[in-house]
Amino acid sequence: MISRATLAIAVPAAPALVVVLVVLVPGRLVTLVARIAAVPTAVLAVMLAIEAMRAPGDPVVGDWLVVDVAGGLLVGVIGLVGLASVLVSQTSLDRARTSLVSPERRDRVYYAVLYAFWAILLAVPLAGNLGGAWLLVAATTAASALLVGFSGTGRALEAGWKYLVLTSLGLGVALLGIVVLAAGVPDGGLGALSWRALSGHASSDGALVAYLLLLAGLAAKIGWAPVHNWLPDAHSEAPPAVSALLSAALLPAVLLVAWRSEQTLAPVIGARTAETVLVAFGLASLAVAIPFLWRSLPWKRLLAYSSLEHMGVIALGIGFASPLALAGVAVHIVGHAIAKALGFYAAGPLLAVEPHAADRPATGLARGNPVLGTSMGVSLAALAGLPPSPLFVSEVLIVAGGFQAGRPWAAAATALLLALGFLGLAHALLETTGGRRRRRVADVAGLGTLGALASVSVVLLLALAAAAVWLPGSDLVDALAKGVS
């Protein structure tokens, strides 16, 4: 039996090893190696997720390493989305006419950077230390910016540049928050910034300033309003597989760092104050996202604004912090990842059959191409929260959790904004699948893989919706509420 600590080291180490492999193998084997190696990486991640959830009351909490329920959940999600992203990447690469690097080195560089990004992403939820987590989040910026701009087109360069500059400045502000925390720690050193030690050391004088700086900085990376400007551009211009990783894995992984910061510092600055900051970010993100969900937007930009909405919903759930809300958060993270990743994977074939879909809304796809239309319909229906989507259950849990937490006004505002968001996405769903068809949609490469991914996604979404009903009151939710401190 492998211990959880060993497994936790193996999970990010496996994709890191693949980076070396991809760099060293002959060019014709790069794609094959990348695809084959994705399977053990994902298997290790899912094994760790299962192990973390088998003993929710007994997390591994060290100065450098944490294996708890929230981290395990995220690792499982990142593992599965990473696997699917690797599998669908080659079709998009083959379709691309330009790239940031020369054609001979294109696949090698792409897979090396993708695996580096995946390895760092897998390490973020396992970091037992605020300083270490910041460093890993900062490292994701460099790797993912390269992937966002990988096509090398003017639009991709614009998106990658905005992402790099805005998130780097944001992370600078977050680091200032960490320095303020370090100033309050008597003996200093990185070990003193471990999640378990931090709440004991942090002084109440600087802790609130540190918390605000930390969250304001991380918000730029999570894509919370009002510092979300990079998000629609990066999500829409990155290769579809990378967009899926950004939305389904990166945003919630950084959000977990914000959540752990809140849980760790709440005893010092006051739980109500700490949670109110998250509720404010959540409501602002929902309010900013809704008007865009009502507009006719190109497919990937619509999904990007939906990410802004869903990161807001998760922030609200964490901010409400009641058992019902936290159960909703767990379901929402997983459900959003499945539905959003499927939506982005559909963008590859969509752009192949309808190149104008990069600039204008896609319509009538269910009639023109059933596989593509159904995949996009499943994604959009799930993201809208149309029953039996697990996101319907999670949103109900989060709103109920808001009332349970004694925040009736915030819960009511959340319910109203979610209803408006539902109407916007429901309209987009009708237009995308059943609207007027512009022309016949031909079959293209990648539809078989998309159909398989859509089938798996439907099964997973339904299973999650069923599990969501059982989740409130379970040990898993108690563990989420306890955190790592």
Binding site: G131, A138, A142, A159, L169, G206, V209
Partner: protein, 203 residues
Amino acid sequence: MSGGLVWTLVALGLAVVVVRRRSVAVALVTVQALALTAFALHDAADTDELVAAGALGLRALLLASLLLVLVARTRETRPVRARISPLARGGAAIAFALALTWLVPEIGLASRDAERAVLALVAFGIATAALRRATLFQILGIVLVENGLALSALELPGGASLAIELGVALDLLLVALVASVFHERIFAEFGAGDTAALRTLRD
């Protein structure tokens, strides 16, 4: 750290906001980082603090080399003009820095002067990135913020933090490397490292 040195660092930061030439701005942030290195070496009490100072100095030199190579490889026929005049940029940056020092209470560094200087450098960095159109100046905005953070790590009550200095150095080098790839590609695509060309993505 003496008040004179602290305010010299702030003055160098403000100069980056207003100067016109990219090479001058690179020299200014490098002098700033080397001044921080000299102070860190002078005050180093143990091996950790010596290593922290070494990391700071090494990243200053590596960054200067990288940025100067970038300047040389992307020669501009005429400098990218900022939308706002130098005087207005300087005024806006100073106003932002004053607002930040007024808003943020004591953060626990060795002196209030050092705290104000850190906040001023962060403000100048953000102002540089927001007010300058040239891509290289936006990279320098990030460098200014990180120099401010390096100063804060040196002014921690318990002495320099090796972890923070190493983290800042590593992060900054990675970001600068990726930014340099983008800068060169933007230059090749649009004929200038000008973010005014990067305004097509809107809703």
